[in-house]
Amino acid sequence: MRTLRRYAKLYLAFVRCTLARELSFRGNFLMRAAVEFLWFCLLVLFYDIIYGQTAHVGGWTQFQYMVLIGTFFLVTGLIDTLVMPNCAELAEQVRTGNLDHALVKPVDEQFILTLPRLDWANASNLLYGGGMVAYSLFRLEHWPTAAEVAAYCWGIFCAFVFFYSVLSMLAISAVYLVRNQSIWEQWFYVNLFARYPPEIFTGTWAKPLRTVLTYVFPVLVVVSVPARVLAHRVISVQGLLIATVAAGAAFALSRFVFRRVLLAYRGASA
């Protein structure tokens, strides 16, 4: 408990610092928020064109689908704000061989390498995503119950932990693998499938892909399960269970991988 309080305090101190820095570059902040908004609009426009041709995609009507897109923006917005700046920095630190300063600090190394920096400009995506979900629910005339809201929030939390764990593993693996692919690119491929409803994965090759992306690397679950709660008013216990287990397992694995990679980085012989 004391540890938890200490890390909360420490995290708040970092939040303060990043906020102070962001405020000193206000122009840049607005610009980037605008860019994010442009991409959001493009995506909305794309689905508007699509739904001009069809009434539903994989059983999702336009506003149900927009709940999915909004949820996707919420989850990726959280990651982009809280995790990505750290992973990008970590990859850079690995490249320049400068993890040293972080490693001499008396705190958990995974914490200080993957969490302290925030990128506030990406937080605007939370606004767009949240707004999209709210507007779609209004159009769908769905007024969620407390249970649905709780299930939704838990789903988002699991999705966040899952993606956080995957990304921190990818970032630290740069110690072993020199990549010409940026961590941003890797993140794009990690979340690529999460923005689509699982129902569209039909056909000879997509069926097994769906199984893999549901049970082995459940990107198809973590976003669609909470989205389904609000869009279809279905609380899938199995889905939430998979998401919870996935988040827990991925987090535990990331702790393990982090520790092993840093040991190797410091030249510990097996």
Binding site: A13, S24, D100, H101
Partner: protein, 350 residues
């Protein structure tokens, strides 16, 4: 307290495997499939102790193994062989209690938030090291006063000069009252004034807080100013460990003779000096000579018998020069075997 051992290293060794990159296109293509490595013995059996409150200079040319040794002591690297205790801990086990008690400063590597005033970074330090607010304020006041940077801590770090930034780094390093501070090339790239200021601060902090300081440098000046004791490392091995004066006694094979003759006419000509004597300056009536140590007394006897001298002084050559000698004579065998044509003063048959 004074004779407590802070660092105890024995036979520390660190080898690296280095990827050998070949030049050229086809070599690069081949490197795609098969890589060649070569073994570098960065540190090769280093043993020494440091007691509490000491300032020790770690001296050596680039690539001698200074930084690698420092990294092992900071727990950043595992040794290939050997053992070490720092502040009673095995550094590479990286206990939180250990990490709380020391600081690492690496010259030219910035730990402070670049776009923010240094005070913000210091407050982060307070949280990181859980410094009680009262202690934090007091210590910050002391440090800023000592370094005379009171106002600068409220200015964005990027607007500070290199020297000022280094001072901020030092404040950050001493804020949590570490018992040991490891500094890697703290004066690298600084101008002479800033260098002197940094060294002065280190001395002050060492006196005031009794902090043990181990610093690496390849500048002689740093060490000459600051350290009672130096450890000279070359090619991964310690070649000297002791007081400053000891270096001179052990490695200084020459003395500098400054002779003030009575008149210009009564000054021996340059051709008089033969054998191993080197004329550094010939401005009658003043002559400066570089003489091998064991020949000084014989030479002086002869001079006093034949010439009228007003003043004689026998000095040691600058430390810088002595150290350079040490490095050139203890270099790896392949290099020291090469004929030394540029420096006749160096003793080739050693």
């Amino acid at each position: 307290m004074r004779d407590e051992t802070v660092i105890d290293a024995e036979g520390l060794t660190r080898h690296f495997k280095v990827y050998r990159k070949r030049a050229g296109f086809w070599a690069a293509v081949r490197g795609l499939f098969r890589r060649e490595y070569r073994l570098v013995r960065a540190v090769d059996g280093v043993s020494f102790q440091v007691r509490a409150g000491e300032i020790v200079g770690f001296l050596g040319p680039n690539g001698a193994g200074k930084t690698t040794t420092l990294k092992m002591l900071a727990g950043l690297l595992y040794p290939t062989a050997g053992r070490a205790t720092v502040l009673g801990f095995v550094p590479w086990e990286r206990h939180n209690a250990f990490r709380r008690q020391f600081a690492l400063v690496m010259g030219q590597r910035n730990q402070l938030w670049w776009d923010l005033p240094a005070i913000e970074s210091f407050q982060l330090h307070r949280e990181l090291y859980e410094i009680p607010p009262g202690d934090f304020q007091q210590r910050l006041r002391e440090l800023t006063e000592a370094l005379q940077v009171g106002k600068l801590i409220h200015q964005p770090v990027r607007e500070l000069s290199l020297g000022e930034r280094m001072k901020m780094e030092l404040i950050g390093a001493f804020l949590h009252a570490p018992r040991l501070v490891l500094l890697d090339e703290p004066t690298l790239g600084l101008d002479v004034v800033a260098q002197a200021a940094i060294l002065d601060c280190l001395r002050q902090f060492n006196r005031r807080y009794g902090t043990t300081i181990l610093l690496t440098s390849h500048y002689m000046r740093d060490v000459e100013e600051l350290c009672q004791r130096i450890i000279v490392i070359n090619a991964g091995r310690i070649v000297y460990d002791g007081g400053l004066q000891g270096v001179v006694e052990r490695f200084g094979r020459h003395k500098v003779l400054r002779l003030q003759f009575h008149t210009a006419a009564g000054t021996p000509g340059p051709e008089t000096w033969n054998g191993s004597i080197e004329v550094l300056e010939h401005r009658p009536p003043l002559v400066k000579l570089r003489v091998e140590r064991d020949q000084v007394s014989r030479l002086l006897q002869g001079l006093l018998a034949h010439w009228q001298l007003d003043d004689i002084s026998v000095e040691d050559p600058p430390l810088e020069e002595i150290i350079t000698d040490v490095f050139t004579t203890t270099a790896p065998p392949t290099e020291s075997r090469e004929p030394q044509t540029v420096r006749p003063a160096a003793d080739g048959g050693h």
